[in-house]
């Protein structure tokens, strides 16, 4: 568990984060939503320790925060901007060597296979890849050193459906073992395995709720998208179709169950 308490962050006289207190469990998938410029990325950078808050503190009640941060992977919005190696293999191996990962060759091949990439890609320059391929390679270069926390900032942007689904499957497979923080405007890919949703708007934490208790109307009103199932459920309700309101239909499976009842 990592706790951010009374965090403020100012940049160029703008209050980007305003007295925000929020915690991130080490076994949950935590979705951060909010309109553009709300401060989601800034908050994630404070969590990772890439920037210092103007006020407030980041700590872990169960250990040294620096140790948590060392094993915290951060997939940036444009991770490809950070590439520096001549080949994809070297790019992925760099992080692995830094974390003294054993049996690098086998692990790199496993990860490439796991992410659905053609092994030939290992010999390519990372700079020659398409936008989506670059994103996946950047993700592989984090996964190789088995992070205990993972921050994914708009991970689906630029990916086609095949890669989006693959990436979502990989993140889902980490659920329970890795603390995952996802910042995304696209919710359909992840909503089925998210444990907690927090809404950030205007630099403030509006709410942080377990998935079953999320105020979807609040998220919509803040200017964000909501899952397709919630949108569909709202339409059905408006058209007089009644279903069990105790079931929160944030996935299509849940919506169908609610309709069956």
């Amino acid at each position: 568990m990592i706790v951010l308490k009374n965090i403020c962050f100012d940049y160029e006289d703008v209050e980007v984060i305003k007295n925000c207190s929020i915690s991130f469990a080490s076994d949950e998938v935590h979705l951060l939503v909010g309109p553009n410029g709300a401060g989601k990325t800034t908050l994630a950078m404070i969590l990772k320790g890439l920037i210092k808050p103007s006020h407030g503190r980041v700590f872990s009640p169960i250990g040294n925060i620096d140790i948590f941060r060392r094993k915290m992977g951060f997939l940036f919005q444009f991770p490809e901007d950070l590439f520096f190696s001549d080949t994809v293999y070297e790019e992925i191996a760099y992080g692995a060597k830094k974390f003294e990962v054993e049996d690098i060759d086998r692990k790199i091949n496993n990860i490439i296979d796991f992410l659905g990439l053609n092994p030939e890609i290992l010999n390519f320059s990372p700079f020659d890849l398409s936008y989506g391929e670059k994103r996946i390679v950047a993700f592989a270069s984090i996964l190789i050193w088995e992070p205990s926390y993972l921050i994914l900032d708009e991970p689906f942007s630029g990916l086609d459906w095949q890669f989006r689904n693959r990436l979502a499957e990989v993140v889902e497979s980490l659920k329970g073992r890795v603390g995952v923080v996802i910042i995304s405007q696209e919710l359909d890919n992840v909503i089925s395995f998210v444990d907690r949703v927090s809404l950030i708007a205007g630099g403030e934490l509006v709410f942080s709720s377990p998935i079953e208790e999320v105020d979807w109307d609040g998220i919509y009103e803040a200017g964000c998208d909501i899952p397709s199932a919630v949108r569909l459920a709202n339409k059905l309700k408006r058209n007089g179709i009644k279903f069990d309101s105790n079931v929160c239909p944030y996935t299509l499976e849940r919506l169908i169950d609610a309709l069956k009842d």
């Binding site: 909010g34 410029g37 320059s125 989506g132 095949q162 998208d225 397709s228 169908i256």
Partner: protein, 251 residues
């Protein structure tokens, strides 16, 4: 009209697009989809004259692309990049929007007018004096779209420009696509955006795999999910629509 003749385009000495023949009529709104690595962005860079034809030709309104000077080419065709930061050159949002306009030699008064108009249209007033590099990805995306849109090119390419946008910002861009009289080419991975085109193209491995006017596709609205287009997408596993899952679950 933009026409390509046996166009070949390379990126980093690799052929991405080969013998590509394509016509984009004036005023036409095209949506282009395709898997990652299909060559969509390379084609966009070629059509806008940023990377050279190697070989082949692009003719824009009866004039070879090579015969345009940079200023008149930018007035003719604009591109908004996937990564908005790649096009930023100034230190505040107002200057960023004005930069392209001054490069095409617009009068000072017109530059001011156009900046004011796009700031209003794109809701950028609250960030007008901010350094573009300090903005969030979604805000950067809005500024990059506004900067190109302010130049009012006749042909406008949007290369996955809504991926970082929140719902409200995306709706603003959708309205722009609906209202614009410019010819637009929307490259997207978001299948909801197909509805903004009169024509839909599926690009795969640098080739057009599907090209149809949406009105000719099956279905009562723009086109149905059981059309040849969607079946092709499913076959290639490019698209797993929510619609498919609903049908599957309802069975």
């Amino acid at each position: 009209m933009i026409k390509t003749y046996s166009l070949t385009l390379e990126r980093d000495e690799k052929i991405v697009i080969q013998n590509f023949d394509f016509t984009w009529s004036k005023g036409e709104k095209i949506v282009m989809v395709g898997p990652t690595g299909a060559g969509k962005s390379t084609l966009a860079l070629g059509l806008s004259g940023i990377i050279p034809c190697a070989p082949g030709t692009i003719v824009i309104d009866s004039k070879d692309i090579g015969d345009f000077d940079l200023r008149s080419l930018r007035e003719k065709i604009g591109i908004v990049f996937q990564d908005p930061e790649t096009q930023f050159v100034t230190t505040d949002v107002g200057r960023e929007i004005g930069f392209g306009l001054s490069n095409i030699n617009k009068e000072r008064s017109e530059i001011k007018e156009r900046i004011a108009a796009v700031v209003e249209d794109f809701n950028l007033k609250h960030i007008l004096n901010r350094d573009p590099s300090s903005l969030s990805a979604g805000e950067k995306q809005m500024v990059s779209i506004a900067s190109i849109y302010a130049m009012q090119p006749e042909y406008l390419i949007f290369d996955e420009v809504t991926s970082f946008l929140d719902r409200k910002s995306r709706e603003r861009i959708y309205k722009l696509w609906e209202d614009t009289v410019s010819s637009i080419l929307i490259i997207t991975q978001n299948f909801r955006e197909i509805n903004f085109g009169e024509r839909v193209i599926l690009l795969e491995d640098g080739k057009i795999n599907f090209d149809a006017r949406t009105e000719n596709l099956e279905g009562s609205s723009h086109f149905a999910y059981d059309s040849a287009f969607f079946n092709l997408l499913r076959k290639n596993k490019d698209y797993i629509p929510q619609y498919d899952r609903i049908l599957e679950l309802l069975k």
